[in-house]
């Protein structure tokens, strides 16, 4: 068959769909196929050019983004007002999830590093889903809570390690 026509009439396998992609994200790992289909109708897919800003520090955040393809650079301003790169995220990573539950100003700036497709999940849609489909919405929120608490625990452990090491060094100085 002519590749042009085969491109148009090609039936996308399940692996090419947005629902399958969402299922590979840790937050939504516990969702079934039907729930993923519901989630697919809830999220917004957005395209970004290289160096296009997704959000800047101080913006009112209203949701999280998942990188479907491309890459995103996360930067934070230090005390001198210079941007310092915190992380370079790739496809499958997600960011901005804090703003999903409460309106918080963004604490970092996110910029697309190449041609990027982001999948946005926003508070307005989640609240709508909570009203209309509480069962599925609570599953989504539960997954989010799990990932967030894992991160919190991780951060807490690191903080403790740091403070202990700080104590160790200060003790060393005294003796």
């Amino acid at each position: 068959m002519d590749p042009f026509w085969s491109n148009i009439f090609r039936k996308p396998g399940y692996k090419a769909t947005l629902a399958y992609f969402l299922g590979t994200i840790p937050i939504f790992a516990n969702l079934g196929r039907r729930e993923l289909g519901f989630l697919e109708a809830l999220v917004h897919q957005r395209n970004y050019h290289p160096d296009e800003v997704v959000f800047t520090e101080g913006d009112i955040g209203s949701g999280m983004y998942i990188i479907r393809s491309g890459g995103v650079r996360i930067e934070m301003k230090n005390e001198h007002g210079e941007n310092r790169v915190q992380a370079n995220l790739e496809a499958g990573d997600f960011f901005g999830e804090i703003a999903l539950t409460t309106p918080h100003p963004r604490i970092a700036t996110a910029t697309a590093t190449e041609q990027t497709v982001l999948v946005g999940l926003f508070r307005a849609d989640i609240l709508d889903a909570v009203r209309k489909h509480p069962a599925i919405a609570s599953k989504i929120l539960l997954g989010l809570t799990r990932v967030l608490s894992e991160r919190l625990q991780h951060a807490g452990l690191r903080l403790r390690e740091q403070s202990f090491s700080h104590l160790d060094t200060s003790r060393g100085e005294h003796s």
Binding site: R46, G58, I60, S62, F122, R123, A124, D125
Partner: protein, 375 residues
């Protein structure tokens, strides 16, 4: 890349002249084609305004019911059909139990009675004028009653002319409104999502957030207004049915619909009922009961003390000046229908603006907090 040589002297003037002429000509073309385009659109959408408006109203009313079924894991389309089916059964039951209010004979009787009511009002006016003339002789050559009679005859002619046409239109409404509202109910989310997705990335989150707040407020407001009109209409109907007055259902409908317009609406809605009561029943206990139903029960007790505090937030209150402007402008655009829906639409615009302003102010305050924390 080679740049073109810059024209100088007369050549420059010529270029300027050509550019200006082309600009003006294309401007005129666009303007004239735009006005014919507007004409086309107006002709094409002429009869669609009312069905779409009614379908939107039905959609707003049915959406909560559909959501109840949707919550029970039924697909949206199936839920809509279920709601439709239940409503159909309810209407059938009502028709079987009570029997349909005989709109046609009522309309025929009204058409026959209308000249009589006008004549009585004219009599009354003439008496009033006679006493006025005796006191203010210089008003003599002012032909009030002639003007009023002329206006009334025109109005009657309009009713006679419009009835068969509107019967046809009502028939098409019964077909169009359920159809339109079915699609609005099923696809409104998808339609709005695709519209919102047109916004640029930078403003997408803000637009989505504002849309969410505004749409929630608006749905609340519109649902409240419609329920208020329905309840007022029903109460007036029931209250009038207790007396010997004719056309109680029709008067109830008028009272409910005019109640959508604040300040002026209830008064206008009261006039036909009071005129009919005065002519048919005379000024006696029944007349005063009807007066009480309209003013005290429907307006003061029900509307002011019960319905408005529960259903409608004070946010949607408009300044009386805006109310008058909305009525006048609505009337210019869509006649009587425009007068009635002008004020709710103005309130809707006000709610939207207020929500956007509030969103922006919270945005700014949180931003300030963040900045101050960093410093």
């Amino acid at each position: 890349m080679t740049s073109l040589p810059r024209p100088t002297g007369p050549a420059k003037n010529l270029v300027l002249f050509i550019v200006l002429t082309a600009g003006i000509a294309s401007g005129i073309t666009i303007f004239s084609s735009a006005s014919t385009l507007v004409d086309w659109i107006e002709t094409a959408t002429n009869g669609l305004f009312l069905p779409i408006l009614l379908s939107l109203i039905v959609t707003f009313l049915l959406d909560p019911l559909v959501q109840i079924f949707e919550r029970a894991q039924i697909s949206r389309t199936a839920s809509i059909f279920t709601v439709y089916f239940i409503l159909l059964v309810l209407v059938m039951l009502l028709l079987v139990l009570i029997g349909p209010p005989n709109w046609k004979s009522m309309l025929d009787a009204l058409r026959a009675d209308f000249p009589r009511y006008i004549a009585r009002v004219l009599d009354y006016l003439n008496n009033l004028l006679a006493s006025l003339h005796s006191q203010f002789p210089y008003l003599e050559h002012y032909d009030f009653s002639g003007k009023f009679r002329h206006w009334a005859q025109e109005f009657l002619g309009l009713i006679l002319l419009e009835t068969p046409r509107s019967a046809l239109r009502i028939g098409s409404l019964f077909l169009l409104v359920p159809l339109f509202s079915f699609f609005f109910l099923r696809d409104s989310r998808r339609i709005m999502r695709s519209l919102i997705s047109l916004t640029p990335n930078r403003y997408f989150e803000m637009v989505l957030d504002i849309y969410d707040r505004v749409s929630w407020q608006l749905a609340h407001f519109i649902r409240g207004r419609i329920l208020e009109a329905l309840i007022i209409g029903t109460v007036v109907w029931l209250g009038l049915s207790l007396t010997d007055i004719r056309y109680a259902p029709l008067l109830g409908v008028i009272a409910g619909v005019t109640n959508l317009v604040p300040y002026i609406g209830p008064i206008v809605g009261m006039v036909p009922g009071l005129v009919i009561a005065m002519v048919d029943l005379g000024i006696g206990p029944q007349f005063w009961w009807i007066f009480c139903v309209y003013l005290l029960i429907a307006q003061v007790i029900l509307d002011n003390f019960i319905l408005i505090p529960i259903l409608i937030s004070r946010v949607s209150d408009l300044h009386p000046l805006w109310v008058i402007l909305a009525i006048v402008m609505g009337g210019k655009l869509y006649g009587v229908l425009g007068m009635i829906i002008g004020v709710p639409i103005a309130s809707a615009i006000k709610i939207a603006l207020l929500e956007i302003r509030q969103y922006r102010s919270t945005f700014n305050s949180t931003r300030e907090i963040l900045l101050s924390r960093r410093n």
